[in-house]
């Protein structure tokens, strides 16, 4: 049995942040959970799917975040408790639905957990989901430690059912992906029965029509609900003050920054001078609670990630309260004391705080920092981001790059988010030239493909992953076909949502619960839409390149599906299709005219340049036996032999 189902209230166990969130949902009696994979959020749905059978849950990886929200909302409309999970970008995808949901309200408790990624540790942006709470007028909670990750979820479900609306609980990478001790609560025994009641009076929020009309009435109701939430926030156990009765300065903080702030105060030894106001209910701020604490002193430092969301809200409240509490100096990001991009860390907070409390502090001796910089510059080997050994994307982009170069019309590739995003870098031969949201590669390409009348004669290629195809690329493809755009769409089908950990998607024959599910064929979808479709194995470089060249020459929408399972997939790991080796008799090394094409340009980590021998050599540990090297070496020095025992 999963440790997540430990039914010993009061016992303390070590949980990863995302597991704590999942446990919170279980303690709240969640019935339905839906999400779309994305770091740092993925483990929440994964964890719940593992206990789904035991706890009688329905869990799904939805086609995209908007659908996930809709699926979770349906459960709520039927009186169940539902959880919806995604990374920061996902809220943007679903926000259209949320704008309506805020007006219609919810019935069973519904909690949305966006996991933000300050510093974009696993993202290509650090967009903030907190802004959506203000934009959509929905309450926002921000857990500050692992215990709160669990407890706030339980509390959020109660709140959602009290106000009959969606509640945001925002996590960040440093909480979701770290682990800490969590004291467990009880797991509920009963499960709810689903029933969608729709025959009541139109304005009946529990039994009427779920619609945003009449708008003014609904909007007013939504704002009343938000006020109701604020009343509950006034006495929330998640807003705490620690520090002296008469502090010189108070640090106002939330989320993971609460931990940095505590550490900073401790490092400076100013516990008796500086107070710490840790807020868990950050939108809307509870005015009575805030008045009390803004009255403690005149100077405040707001510590948060990423942009000054909390700071601005505190400032608005301070302005409103000024007649009673007097003018306050609220510092943070808007005055440049703390950066407005990237993650914070204890050093950055200490630095900002030290100058305010006039305590000299050196996070590291200057000579040490200097030496570190020198070593980093001169001593550390240059390690670029790279595709894994045996990654089909490297082979795919090799062919795409070469086909575009051979075509010679200055063609380019529009891309989006996935492992293949790395193709903006040399590991993908710098082939990607535009990079935006999920599915945007094909949408942008659809636009480029219509510019022929303005003299644009460059071939336009888009790439998307198999999961992305279902997530957001299909409408773009339809648009391109309908409008007669000239594009070649390459679906990099590695048979799973690989980047986030092989979660299933609609193209696979299994769902999040491990049940057999109808797989939707990408080629059938594309064909039925009217695209010219071809399927190739990207490891067959010659055929892939020839096919691409043929498609680039044709007008209209062409789809090339490059299908080869991810090298890290459980099916493929530890199975080498080929034994691959460099024949030192044939490899001429530096003397060859190839100028080390294999290790200088192709650069799969599975192949290394043996400096002593002056020749290439296969790294037997890293090499995955995909056999592509054999096609890279023009000299034929890299030989492959099929591994019979594995394939036979």
């Amino acid at each position: 049995m999963s440790h997540l189902l430990t039914d010993e209230p009061g016992s303390r166990i070590l949980l990863m942040g995302n597991e704590a969130i999942a446990r919170g949902a279980l303690e709240a009696g969640v019935n339905v959970a839906a999400g779309y994979p994305g770091t740092p959020s993925s483990e929440i749905i994964e964890t719940l799917s593992k206990v789904a059978r035991d706890r009688g849950l329905y869990v799904e990886w939805s086609a995209n975040e908007k659908v996930a929200m809709e699926v979770a909302a349906a459960a709520s409309f039927a009186g169940l408790r539902s959880l919806c999970v995604m990374k920061q970008n996902g809220v943007n995808v679903g926000s259209d639905f949320l704008l309506h949901l805020g007006l219609t309200g919810t019935r069973g408790g519904m909690v949305l957990v966006p996991c933000d990624d300050p510093g974009a540790l696993s993202s290509i942006n650090e967009g903030e989901s907190r802004q959506f709470a203000r934009l959509l007028e929905l309450p926002l909670l921000e857990p500050g430690d692992f215990q709160e990750l669990k407890d706030m979820i339980v509390w959020a479900f109660q709140l959602s059912e009290e106000i009959r609306n969606l509640v945001f609980v925002r996590s960040v990478t440093r909480l979701s992906h770290a682990s800490g001790n969590v004291v467990l609560g009880p797991l509920p025994g009963e499960t709810r029965k689903a029933r969608f009641k729709h025959r009541g009076f139109i304005l009946d929020e529990m039994e009427g029509v779920v619609a945003s009309m009449p708008m003014e009435y609904r909007h007013r109701r939504q704002q009343e609900k938000l006020k109701q939430a604020v009343e509950r926030f006034e006495s929330s156990p998640f807003n705490t003050y620690t520090g002296p009765e008469h502090p010189e300065l108070v640090v106002i903080t939330s989320s993971a920054c609460h931990l940095y702030s505590r550490e900073a105060i401790h490092l400076l030894g100013v516990e008796d001078r500086v107070g710490l106001l840790k807020l868990g209910t950050t939108f809307p701020l509870p005015p009575v609670f805030m008045e009390k604490h803004l009255g403690l002193t005149d100077r405040f430092l707001v510590v948060e990630e990423v942009i000054p969301f909390l700071e601005e809200n505190v400032k608005i409240l301070a302005q409103e309260l000024a007649p009673r509490i007097g003018p306050k100096t609220i510092m943070g990001k808007r005055d440049g004391r703390l950066p407005t991009v990237g993650e914070l860390n204890p050093d950055l907070v200490v630095e900002a705080l030290a100058s305010l409390v006039e305590v000299p502090y050196e996070s590291a001796p200057e000579a040490y920092v200097k030496r570190g910089q020198e070593l980093m510059f001169f001593g550390a080997p240059n390690r670029e981001l790279t595709f894994c050994p045996g990654c089909p994307h490297r082979a795919s982009f090799w062919s795409i790059h070469n086909a575009l170069e051979l075509d010679g019309r200055d063609g380019f590739v529009c891309g989006d988010i996935g492992c293949y995003t790395l193709a903006v870098l040399p590991t993908g031969f710098s082939t990607l030239k535009t990079l935006h949201a999920m599915g945007s590669g094909t949408g942008v390409a659809s636009g480029f493909g219509k510019l022929g009348r303005f003299g644009m004669d460059q071939p336009v290629v888009s790439v998307c992953g198999d999961s992305t195809f279902f997530h957001a690329a299909m409408p773009a493809l339809i648009n391109a076909i309908h409008h007669g755009s000239d594009i070649t769409m390459v679906v990099l089908d590695n048979s799973g949502t690989a980047m986030t950990g092989f979660q299933p998607h609609p193209g696979l024959d299994v769902d999040a619960l491990g049940h057999k599910a109808p797989a939707i064929s990408i080629e059938d979808v594309c064909r039925s839409l009217g695209a010219q479709v071809r399927v190739c194995d990207p490891f067959d470089l010659e055929t892939t390149q020839a096919t691409l060249l043929e498609l680039l020459d044709r007008a209209g929408v062409k789809v090339l599906i490059l299908r080869q399972i991810c090298g890290l997939s459980p099916e493929k790991k530890r199975h080498k299709k080929y034994e691959v080796a460099v024949n030192p008799e044939v490899c001429l090394g530096e003397a060859c005219g190839c100028n080390r094409l294999c290790t200088r340009i192709f650069r799969c980590p599975g192949l290394i340049w043996d400096k002593r021998a002056g020749k290439a050599r296969v790294d037997e540990v890293l090499g995955t036996g995909c056999g592509v090297f054999a096609s890279i070496c023009a000299k034929g020095a890299i030989e492959k032999v099929e591994n019979r025992e594995v394939t036979g």
Binding site: H401, E405, D407, G408, F429, G593, C594, N595, L597, R600
Partner: protein
């Protein structure tokens, strides 16, 4: 010769639009490839000196040095280059199969050389649709399969490089002037490589005023005719001034002025009309559509022609003086145009630091060609 690397080659030839896609840089390494008549560099290469640059007929060709090496005499402005005789020629009666251009001398000579064992393989130019493709053939049927002019710049020499790499020797090549120039450069082993072996034993040069860019010709023709019907193309000698397309049941004539827009810029810098670096050179003959002009240049070329005449593979007769004079004028005019253009584009005899030339000639020769 000033020899640089692939980066200079790309900057001076490809990026300036001077590449004619002869294929001299293709198949030496994994970087240069030709696709549908266009040569591209797939990835950056850091070599400071490369055969790709050394073999290229469009950059840093030092005609003085090349002439000394090949002919043991300086390069002068003589219109037809070094030669040992000019005659009218055509294939012997019943000696060619299928369609040939003009007198069929090239096909007949190539077939004869193969039959006599003077060469073991012939590198020729075939076409797939309108795209010229190099082809190595080892029998007469193969030769006639490649007969007739293509008029498009072709990467024929990529096949010579492949042959060299694969250890194939004793190859005959039918080459345009740029290709014959590249072959002459290649055969000097300019990088002094120890593993160098000359795979070429015979070069049959073609006359050429200019070629056409395949990538431009295809859409040009597609907009006028159903290109799948094209069976044969011809540019009859002056004063015709037309490009003729034989569609089987009809013939279409396109004024040459329209066609000239499809000439690669690199052709305009070529001072060679008669493939001066070949063993023998063959072209059309004004006023005699069933005959060719044949220039013999080397001992090997002389032996080939004499034996072929003796065997009846080709028939030769004396060249009328007026025709010879016209040929000399046309060849000299091409030299003058090329030198004037190279000078105008600052691509002639550059010596300044960082500046490179398309070709180099002795200043006295330049003066002779540009003087009134």
């Amino acid at each position: 010769m000033r020899i640089f690397g692939p980066n200079e080659l790309k900057a001076d030839v490809q990026d300036k639009g001077l590449c004619v896609g002869c294929g001299a840089c293709v198949n030496l390494c994994p970087y240069f490839k030709n696709h549908q008549g266009k040569t591209v560099m797939l990835f950056p290469c850091t070599l400071e000196k490369g055969r790709c640059h050394a073999y290229c007929p469009k950059t840093e060709v030092d005609y003085t040095e090349l002439s000394q090496a090949r002919w043991k005499r300086p390069y002068d402005a003589s219109p037809l280059g070094t030669h040992d005789g000019v005659v009218m020629a055509r294939a012997g009666e019943g000696r060619v199969e299928g369609r040939v251009q003009a007198g069929g001398t090239v096909s007949a000579l190539t077939a004869f050389a193969l039959r006599e064992g003077m060469i073991e393989e012939a590198v020729l130019t075939n076409r797939e649709g309108l795209v010229p493709v190099p082809q190595m053939v080892g029998d007469e049927t193969g030769i006639y399969g490649c007969a007739t002019s293509k008029y498009t710049a072709a990467p024929t020499l990529s096949e010579v490089n492949r042959a060299a790499r694969e250890g194939i020797r004793n190859v005959g090549v039918v080459a345009t002037p740029c290709q014959a120039t590249a072959l002459a450069l290649m055969r000097e082993n300019p990088l002094d490589r120890e593993d160098f072996v000359d795979p070429v034993s015979l070069v049959i040069g073609l006359f050429c005023t200019w070629a056409l860019d395949t990538r431009k010709l295809i859409p040009f023709l597609e907009s006028r005719v159903d290109v799948s019907r094209i069976q044969w193309m011809d540019i009859p000698p002056p004063p015709a001034e037309v490009f003729v397309l034989d569609l089987g049941n009809e013939e279409i004539q396109i004024p040459l002025d329209e066609i000239r827009a499809l000439v690669p810029r690199g052709c305009l810098l070529c001072p060679d009309m008669t493939s001066e670096w070949a063993d023998v050179s063959v072209g059309v003959l004004e006023g005699e559509p069933e005959w060719n002009t044949l220039i013999v240049r080397t001992e090997k070329g002389r032996a080939l022609v004499d034996k072929a005449v003796e065997a009846g593979s080709i028939v030769v007769k004396e060249m009328p003086a007026a025709n010879l004079e016209h040929l000399r004028t046309a060849a000299l005019n091409k030299k003058k145009r090329a030198v004037a253009r190279a000078r105008e584009e600052n691509l002639l005899n550059n010596t300044d630091e960082g500046e490179r030339a398309a070709f180099r000639m002795d200043p006295s020769v330049v003066e002779e060609l540009t003087g009134s």
